[in-house]
Amino acid sequence: MAGLLDTLSAPLRRVGGVAWEAVERAVNEERIHLAVTGLSRAGKTVFITSLVENLLALAGGRDTLPELRARLEQGGANRLVSVRLLPSGSLALPRFDHEGHVAALAGREASWPGRTEDLAALSLEIVLERGSAVGRVLGPRRIRLDILDYPGEWLLDLPLIGMSFAGWAEAMLARLRTPARAGAAEGFLRFLDLFDPEALADEALIRRGHALYREALEALRGRMGLRYLQPGRFLNPGPRGEVPLLWFFPVALRGSPRPGSAGALLAARFEAYREEMRAGFFEGPFRDFDRQILLVDVLGALHAGRAAFEDTADAIADLCRGLRGAPGWLGWGRSPIARVAVVATKADHVPALRREALLHLLRALTERGLEGRPGGNSDGVSLHVAASIHATRDGKVPLGGRDVEVVLGVPVGEDRARPYFVGDVPPGWPPEGFWSGDYFELPVFRPPRIEAERGVGVPHIGLDGILVALLGDLL
């Protein structure tokens, strides 16, 4: 009898330990998956870096996020116990190189992070004292924030998940043939005129078509500032680089293609690509989000002209629809995202007085994407204007005979501050007469020098408001 007890007791105790751990977790730990979404160059990587750095600084006693701090205060006492980056454990994804990004920003030649080329994950733990005396008995609460960074281009494959090759190709070609785009896509469109999808598949010809299509996408992105460009991995192939399943391009099919024909091969590759993105990205690390931040480079889109602005609005509308998981759109159900913060980024290009207009413009730009959210349009959605890193200073200079509000910043590669006049920011969808037809690229200002010593935070505009709107109910 005693022997049996002895043999049983070790496993029993182990089970007890596991159970205790589970109960403790259930009571004290909350795990939040935060989706930082945004088209390419919207400012995701910079946002995550600044967010983490400022949270760490707040825990270290610096008032870097005043609104959040006010939220965490209770009777004059701060309930924030600690914030730390969790060790990566046995994570299968690359780790977000927070230290590297901060070091680059803090370096002598301060530089922005490069384009993100692969997935990267980061977990942050926020420990909070409980508010009530009764609650304190249970010990501090831990909020674990899981954040994923990824190349913005890939996100645009989300609307593609529910599509067939024929449907996708038709939509894509219609886009390419609009007058604004046809110029940049000329080479590819001419190629299509002589390409017969019913002919026997010719590898060399298909690769040529693929190269031309990719060139067209690159031209649309580089010369016109367009964002709604699919498939995302054509522009940003990721760590595995060129693989044969990428070698396809949109082409109009008449009926279903004959086996062995070029059309059949293109369709097969499209489907393989779609499945890989679905399994490896959207159903993998990108699944199950509780909270979403949608970063929008409103100014970049506005300055790039009408086509780019409308293109951005389309992309956001389709993205939001995809993320909501409307039935029939994606093959799997999602629990609804409880809160969404929509953010106009890089607001440090706009003097303080005009940021209100930027907010209205943001509303107009994302309206279509946000309507039809379950529970209504505005339920859980908040709009913000923010700069993850404040790289400028407001000022006034004479322009065209009068003083105008500008921001002063040092453009990257130069060594003296220049005033930047942002022009008119329409407080709503820009009227017909607004567009001039030129393409103007937002200047890139050198990030401010931040102290190399850790824990002092990064200058920003409005990150605290975003955090409160997004996580306020958990704090």
Binding site: V18, E21, R84, H390
Partner: protein, 308 residues
Amino acid sequence: MSGRKPGFVDEAQAAPVAEAPRRPVLLEPLPGAPSAIEPEWAPGAVRQRVGTSSLAWLVGGVALLLLGWIGLSAVELVLAAFDRAAAYGWAASAVLGAAAAMIFWALSVEWRAWRALARVDRLRALLEGGGLEPARAAALGWVGQVSARLRDPAAARAAVGRAGSVVELRAALQLHVTGPLTEAAGQAGQRAALQAGALVALAPHPALDALLAGWRGVRLVREVAAIHGLRPGAVATWALARRVVATAAGTAGVELLTQGLSDQLLQHMPVLRHVAGAVPGATLAAVRLYRLARVTAVACSPLSGGRM
């Protein structure tokens, strides 16, 4: 908006009604433009937890009242003694002086303990995100503080001196210092566990179990602190105990609590296994004490442990 004042359209400074929208421009640098832009951003310090509750004020007031009363009556006593006879007065002074010296000594012990704790906190902060050199200096100071417990203090000092980065410094401390200290703390924990297990087994009434374990726990906290070069007085022990609670509740503690420590402990201590078989409460008390030793070690160590 900017520069456009409200007014009648025929006024010079007012904007024409159908003005073409203004385009963005990046202007040339103004004369004397700076070479770097520092944004106007100066976050202040967060008010840290101000724990002075009304109770604390009450206790403070009563203490002041008592101390003042004792001090004043002592002076009065001495004066009265001198009034009677000089020798009597000297005797009273000597007694009171000795008492004051003892109190002063106790206070200075407390003060030193407090300082030592603060030094460990500072080193912990430096190791978490500070410059290499300040961290190295603080680490050397701490190695000195605990050198009596180390097998080879010279090697520890050399390793700390050689570290080329804060990460290496942490590793050096882990290998040469906290490793052996944690081991020693674990042994102290086992001793305490054994004693508590035995005591609980002998205790005439289950109600006494908690009391016994609690008393042994306070002693254990102080033992482990002493192993880490902290010789806490009553006040510092109290501070340390709070820290231990925070550690246990925080991140580091959870990991410690779920390591299957009880299995480990029972394996190492056959005596305890026997006691455990006979008296159910005994293992629990023992395991708790052993865990307490581990958590205290984390709280006393400048490595790991939650930020306080």
